[in-house]
Amino acid sequence: MKQSKFTIQNAEGLHSRPASDFCTEATKYGCKVTLTKEGDDNEYDGKSILMVMCLGACKGDEITIQTEGPDEEKALESLLNILKNV
């Protein structure tokens, strides 16, 4: 299992377009992808656009991306790149 924290930089937060880009990328990998946010006890499926939107990540929010399974390291790196380029 791999995980990394990321603080949302974009003023518009993780809105529907980057959420969609994130999910599209996540579904390319066989591993499980989970998102959590500080202050929120829930876990959100990173491969579901609805779940990523449920996360409601705004600028300044710290989120944790967790990957588990095949290609977990490659997936995490790729997903972090998506978030950095939002």
Partner: protein
């Protein structure tokens, strides 16, 4: 904030007789203009299409969530339309759309407020029974009850 409080009741049409995405969006934008939620249906629609060009807003199960962040929006609100017959839309599951939840977002709300609103709507849509309820609700009261959380 209750999601139902943000729905523009005069911009709800559960019986849209439209053939395609353009007609559906035009219809809903005009309802918003008529209600005073946007100053110009055409300008707002232009901003909706700007977002449409960036990626799919069809989230599956016959639901689409188009949105426009626009100078034309006077008050952030939601218009909802249900088509008599499914229409083509860019969707993640390749299926057509019947229910359109159109977000009209004012410039001042385009950041955190919009994210939180979208999050609340997503939570409701994520519930297993919501898609079916949206497809079958018979009037605005039943529709509001779906979003009344």
């Amino acid at each position: 904030m209750k999601t139902s409080d943000v729905i523009s009741l005069n911009a709800v049409d559960l019986n849209m007789d439209v053939q395609n995405k353009e007609e559906a969006l035009s219809h809903l934008c005009k309802l918003l203009e008529k209600d005073g939620d946007v100053t110009s249906a055409d300008l707002f629609k232009r901003d909706v299409y700007l977002r449409e060009s960036e990626g799919r807003t069809g989230i599956g199960d016959g639901v689409a969530i188009p949105h426009g962040k626009s100078e034309s929006v006077q008050k952030t609100c939601i218009a909802i339309g249900r088509c008599k017959n499914p229409i083509e839309w860019e969707t993640i599951d390749g299926k057509p759309v019947r229910v359109i939840i159109l977000f009209a977002v004012s410039r001042k709300d385009k950041n955190n407020h919009f994210i939180k609103l979208m999050s609340e709507v997503a939570r409701i849509l994520a519930h297993p029974s919501t898609a079916k309820k949206l497809a079958n609700c018979s009037d605005s009261s039943e529709l509001m009850a779906i979003f009344d959380t």
